[in-house]
Amino acid sequence: MLQQDSNDDTEDVSLFDAEEETTNRPKKSKIRHPVASFFHLFFRVSAIVVYLLCELFSSSFIACMVTIILLLSCDFWAVKNVTGRLMVGLRWWNHIDEDGKSHWVFESRKASAQESKTVSEAESRIFWLGLIACPVLWVIFAFSALFSFRVKWLAVVIMGVVLQGANLYGYIRCKVGSRKNLTNMATSYLGKQFLKQNTGDEQTS
């Protein structure tokens, strides 16, 4: 359910113009939301750091586990609800309608001419870097915990993989969904023109 759906028929032409505008506009490289960018990386990186250094700092396994769980949950909530919205204009959630069926909604902000709503390059780079690197690290930790038989850590590591992997998957679908929608609209527009021409020929012949 992307916002581009709403103006299917009327904006076929203007959407191509908007695309040209984004390529001509100078790339934004300043960070517009420094607090959001900081927190986006802070929770993820500190969860990984605590996991790696817990043996050194504290002899209590439970304190480490609870800290990592809290950091992972805060990170999940922050990335899903705040930093994705502010830094790259994407959002995903689950919506259950009146029949009880669940829909996953992937939303992206339309490219608009407003200054304050465009996506800056630096923020986008920080966002995607943090989003992709950390789940990969957690998967590596999962294999290392499994093969070195430190099974008590497996619960935490699996939680890390699941939560961060879910955010990664959700945002990739938002991103791919929006681009796919553009190409879908282009092909359907061309397809309609093609069909119109062909049926026009058939009627006359």
Binding site: M1, F61, S73, S102
Partner: protein, 195 residues
């Protein structure tokens, strides 16, 4: 219906961080209230979240720790054990109810089962306080009574939400794993001793 959803979309994409936090906190609080005073309510199931179950699970696992003299083996495995039992049990019940043809979504079921652990968490708190007094048969009877009452409350709360999603001839089949799940947790609570 579509336009309603689209309005909702654009308003949440641009809301302030504080609004987001307050909205989520209020949703969690409302669900806790619903568990404490269970009524059949479809609107509760519709916006599920797993924050409540996470908080309850962590609290329960922390309270079920045995204080050990040897600080190196400090209750680690038991903490992970509670986590695994709660989440694995909830997932299994959800799969069971879906296989029986229930029309509830995976996360909704996890949400309900997780939130209905609240009475048992309260029972754990009460048991820990009671265990500070001197041990004896009266101590045990009090704890047994509290655990049984809270166990019944959990079952009533969860069936109030889950029973409607099953076809009528399958209700018992879907409910008995829930019964087993809360029974295992109540057993862990009842047999807990601090030493």
């Amino acid at each position: 219906m579509r336009s309603h959803i689209r309005e909702f979309d654009s308003s949440t994409l641009n809301e302030s961080v504080q609004n987001t936090i307050m909205r989520d906190l209020k949703a969690v609080g409302k669900k806790f209230m619903h568990v404490l005073y269970p009524r059949k309510s479809n609107t509760l199931l519709r916006d599920w979240d797993l924050w409540g179950p996470l908080i309850l699970c962590v609290t329960l696992a922390l309270m079920l720790q045995r204080s050990s003299i040897d600080s190196e083996k400090d209750g680690g495995p038991q903490f992970a054990e509670v986590f695994v039992i709660v989440w694995f049990g909830a997932v299994t019940i959800t799969l069971n109810s879906k296989l029986l043809g229930g029309n509830i979504s995976f996360f909704q079921s996890l949400c309900v089962l997780g939130y209905c652990i609240l009475p048992l968490t309260v029972a754990m708190l009460v048991c820990r306080l009671v265990l500070l007094a001197e041990p004896g048969p009266i101590n045990f009877m009090v704890r047994l009574f509290v655990v049984i009452v809270m166990f019944a409350w959990s079952i009533v709360a969860s069936t109030a939400f889950l029973a409607d999603s099953q076809p009528p001839n399958r209700k018992a089949l879907a409910i008995y794993p829930v019964f087993l799940f809360y029974f295992v947790i109540s057993w862990m609570i009842l047999t807990f001793t601090p030493q």
